[in-house]
């Protein structure tokens, strides 16, 4: 057999799988792919301000990053989330499998519901956080920042479940802001008013269906819509048309990033380093060290990392603490060092901004315990503000505060407000 392989000449007649593989070669010509919404986004991209999101050409801003933020808070903002990694997890054991992989109790996640969760390696270090959508009793969608197919497939051994990566097959949109409900209703998604926060349902669209969930990354009233890639443009058009009178605007990531910070939400590989990407072993983080300890359900059965998490808790070996900070003044403290008593370095700010909604200077920071845990007094941040080629060095008092930094009643109000 081996000899036969060696002697076989380069074959010209190839089977269908090989033909498909060869047909996919030309990706090297386009390093940043467009998403299914790209034609619409390109038409609106006045700033041409792009960044690389998982190999896609995604907008930092489309016309004005500050005004785009206000569209989220005052009207309805449309943000393309298609590059987010998506896995379809299906089978009789899908629930048991996900219960084993992720931190939260998946048996409590009912069909038609979504929860925010995270998953760890065997040593209890966070691989990623993400959202888990229960589409039906036996079918789930897991959305995340990074890619985890080998981890999911290896974990699936012994479970009757299939795991399939569907990032490019499924297009996603976030529609966020006070008028987002009205836009959906006016677009004809009958019954969307019944969706409570973290609810999920299918609605007819363009001869198929769109999955709409009342979820988002802004702390505001908002929805996320998932649709097969070939129905993406018709969905976009349907929303934009219905939203004209409701002030709908497409936005880029900078605006969304501000909204998420106000909502106190963390971003993988911005506020913590995911375990499969941490080159330096001391950058690994357990859920308790990045504010995700609340997800850990010790009542349910075994899950990946449980033993290590329990042991670390028992031996009080947790080393880090992720906190929300309120900093005096109005100068954003992005990537500032956090000090105790203005002298001892105890941590780093990973995200910071002046919050227009809270009218406070807010930040997310990682501190070395016990700072941020039992020691929360006398914390300071040193801000290096570059102003016309000079650093203005400011030492500002920081107070540990609860997240989210803003709480908007309209996010959870039922029925959702009709602006």
């Amino acid at each position: 057999m081996a000899q036969a392989i060696r002697k076989k000449p380069v074959s010209k007649s190839v089977n269908a799988a090989v033909s498909a593989r060869i047909a996919a070669q030309d990706h090297f010509r386009t390093l940043r792919l467009g998403t299914p919404f790209q034609p619409r986004i390109d038409a609106l991209a006045k700033t041409q301000d792009w960044y690389n999101w998982a190999g896609c050409r995604a907008p930092h801003s489309l016309w004005d990053e500050e005004l785009e933020y206000f569209a989220i808070r005052s009207q309805a903002a449309l943000f393309d989330i298609s590059p987010m990694t998506k896995y379809r997890i299906e089978g009789p054991d899908a629930e048991a499998f996900l219960d084993r992989v992720t931190l939260r109790d998946v048996t409590k996640l009912k069909p038609g519901r979504v929860h925010y969760t995270a998953w760890c390696d065997d040593e209890g270090f966070v691989l990623d956080d993400g959202t888990l959508f229960r589409l039906s009793p036996k079918r789930f969608r897991l959305c995340s920042q990074e890619r985890h197919l080998p981890w999911l497939l290896d974990s699936a051994i012994g479970f009757d479940v299939t795991v399939e990566e569907e990032t490019e097959a499924v297009a996603g949109l976030a529609l966020q802001g006070p008028t987002s409900f009205a836009v959906l209703r006016d677009a004809g998604f009958a019954g969307v008013e019944k969706l409570k926060i973290f609810d999920l349902a299918d609605f007819p669209h363009d001869g198929g269906t769109v999955g709409i969930s009342r979820t988002g990354f802004t702390g505001d009233l908002g929805y996320e819509l998932f649709v097969p890639a070939d129905k993406a443009l018709s969905l976009w058009d349907r929303l934009m048309k219905a939203g004209v009178l409701r002030g709908i605007r497409a936005i880029g990531y900078t605006a969304l990033n501000r909204a998420r910070l106000e909502a106190g939400l963390i971003v993988a590989n911005a506020d913590f380093t995911t375990a499969e990407h941490a080159i330096r072993a001391d950058r690994l983080r357990m859920p308790d060290e990045i504010g995700l300890g609340f997800m850990i359900d010790l009542e349910k059965g075994h899950f990946n990392g449980r033993r290590a998490i329990l042991e670390t808790r028992a031996k009080r070996k947790l080393r880090h603490m992720l906190v929300g900070l309120e900093i005096e003044g109005n100068i954003p403290a992005e990537h500032a060092i956090v000090y105790h008593k203005k002298s001892q370095e105890v941590g780093l700010v990973s995200a910071a901004m002046w919050s227009p909604m809270a009218k406070r200077n807010i930040a997310i920071a990682s501190l070395a315990r016990p700072y941020g845990d039992t020691m929360v007094e006398d914390l300071w941040v040193e801000i290096y503000a570059m102003r016309e080629l000079q650093y203005q060095k400011l030492m500002k008092r920081a107070k540990v505060v609860a997240r989210p930094f803003i709480k908007l009643d309209r996010r959870t109000a039922n029925p959702p407000a009709d602006f």
Binding site: I5, V14, F28, G55, H148, A281
Partner: protein, 539 residues
């Protein structure tokens, strides 16, 4: 009669690095080189008009940037250009490319396996972690574990601390890396044969082992711990061919007052009362030196250049048993136009990277089977580059120089010396493999140089043509390289030092052995080493 402060035997890159550092410390240094040119295995030679051949080593990554800076090599013309990736051609008419862009790399792997495409990050993380552990050791003398000298204890403590600083998981990985086969190591991450073959090649290059032989995982690491200007793991072309490295070293050496004699083959080292006193050239000329440094490999140095009676028995036995096995050859080709590969789109960056044709682990291992039987591989493993796609100085416009590193080629053919007919057969195995993927390839050939282990040994002086001056398996690394008790560049003969790739940290155009040997020599002479930069921080 003049006595030089130091005589360096061999003008290879390590000999020249060593010479440069000693000369800059104020010593009066002579380099003697048997060929009419310097460079050893890092040369660029115009073997046919208009074409420069990197006829031994052909790509650059390992050469330490600290050395380039200390010796002002950019001032003397050294420029290294990163290249763009590469590919393995598959037997079904496709190829698997390695792209520099992270997402293109993933999409390319996903054409073969979505799972393996997403496994790459974990693989890269683990390999990077190991490289970061080893990198700082390259520019330090390996400690002698049996010594109680404060320096050795200090270095052992450093090594111990570094190891203790690893997590339990990393320690386990380190031990596995040093002992596993590359095949088994890759099995831990990937499931697709061609993807494994793509990575495995770094584990067998220059090594008389197959991908399924234990110890080959470390060889892969050795090829990943280099850099091009801070881009760790990247490989590049030296502009003007690999001879640009040694040309710059020679110019730097001369500029600081050093002397090079080419066409001066050393017959033996002059030893009196257990101490090296100089060298005797092949013509009988005696040159005296206060110390002698050999850039030749450990076998050539102690089995050919030093009389046996001067050496302890156990040392001699260990030198004899040191593995410097011939495993590879080279076919260097001048082309009158760029070859076409129908499988490869015309605008593919792969033309500017390294190309391979071995698309399965089994083919790679079977190529090694031929070596064990004393034959060159009927279906060889090639590491093929066309540096002229990025370097306009090596061939006229539109013409190209192609370097094919070929494995496996045994030191002897079925127990007998290589014959010219064998050499032709070896070349044909290479050309026919390329021609299979590149129709019309033969017609583009203007000139060709074929180098079997025999040729490389005869010209460069590397025993059996082994490119690393000794295999990079764990039994021959750190304080065991080349011989336990003699891993600190000194030898049983007083005043005779080693500075070649047979010594720590081993082969590849790295320069670290030459530099570390200089540090030890200067220490023995109680001279300052302030002109030698310590290893760059790994943060």
């Amino acid at each position: 009669m003049k006595a030089w402060d130091a005589i360096i035997i061999g003008g290879g890159h390590n000999g020249l690095v060593n010479a440069c550092y000693l000369q800059r410390a104020g010593l009066d240094v002579l380099v003697v080189e048997k060929n009419d040119w310097v460079g050893g295995a890092a040369t660029s030679r115009e073997l046919t008009p208009g074409f420069l051949y990197s006829n031994c080593s052909y790509v650059c990554s390992l050469f330490r940037p600290e050395i380039m800076r200390d010796l002002e090599l950019p001032r003397f013309g050294l420029q290294v250009i990163s290249y763009e990736g590469g590919a393995v051609f598959t037997r079904d008419g496709d190829y698997l490319a390695n792209y520099r862009d992270h997402d293109a790399h993933r999409r390319e792997f996903a054409r073969f396996s979505k799972r393996d495409a997403e496994a790459y990050d974990r693989y890269a993380r683990d390999v990077t972690r190991q490289c970061r552990f080893i990198q700082p050791l390259l520019m330090r003398t390996a400690p002698d574990p049996t010594s109680l000298r404060p320096r050795d204890l200090g270095e052992l403590l450093y090594l111990g601390k570094k190891f203790a600083g690893l997590s339990a998981q990393e320690m386990a990985l380190t031990l596995r890396f040093w002992t596993m086969s590359i095949s088994e190591f890759l099995d831990e991450y990937f499931e697709t044969d061609v993807i494994k073959a793509n990575f495995a090649l770094s584990g067998i290059i220059g090594t008389a082992l197959g991908p399924m032989s234990p110890g080959t995982a470390y060889v892969l690491l050795h090829h990943y711990m280099g850099e091009v200007d801070g881009s760790v793991g990247a490989w590049g072309y030296a502009r003007g061919g690999m001879g640009a490295v040694t040309k710059a070293l020679a110019a730097s050496f001369k500029a600081s007052g050093g002397t090079i004699r080419t066409g001066a083959e050393v017959d033996h080292v002059l030893v009196g009362r257990g101490k090296a006193k100089g060298v005797v050239l092949a013509g009988g000329e005696e040159i005296y030196g206060k110390l002698v440094v050999s850039n030749a490999d450990v076998k050539r140095t102690f089995l050919k250049l030093v009389e046996e009676k001067e050496l302890p028995d156990i040392f001699l036995r260990r030198v004899r048993n040191f593995k410097i096995r011939g495993s590879s050859g080279k076919v260097n080709i001048a082309l009158d136009s760029l070859p076409e590969f129908p499988a490869l789109p015309k605008d593919s960056p792969v033309y500017r990277g390294d190309m391979h044709f071995t698309d399965s682990m089994e083919r790679m291992e079977r190529a090694y089977d031929d070596w064990k039987a004393g034959r060159w591989s009927a279906d060889p493993f090639l590491d093929m580059v066309i540096p002229t796609t990025l370097d306009p100085t090596m061939a006229p416009p539109g013409k190209h120089f192609m370097s094919c590193f070929v494995q496996y080629a045994p030191p002897r053919i079925a127990g007998a010396e290589w014959t010219d007919a064998d050499r032709d057969g070896f070349a044909e195995s290479v050309i026919s493999q390329i021609a299979e993927y590149s129709p019309g390839f033969r017609d583009r050939i203007v000139h060709m140089e074929v180098r079997t282990p025999r040729d490389i040994e005869a010209e460069v002086g590397l025993t059996e043509g082994n490119i690393f001056q000794g295999e990079l398996t764990f039994d021959q690394l750190l304080f065991n390289r080349p011989v336990p008790g003699y891993a600190q560049y000194r030898s049983p003969v007083g005043g005779l030092y080693m500075c070649g790739s047979s010594t720590h940290p081993g082969g590849g155009v790295m320069g670290a052995p030459g530099r570390n040997a200089a540090a030890e020599i200067l220490r023995d002479l109680a001279k300052s080493t302030s002109h030698m930069s310590p290893a760059h921080d790994v943060i």
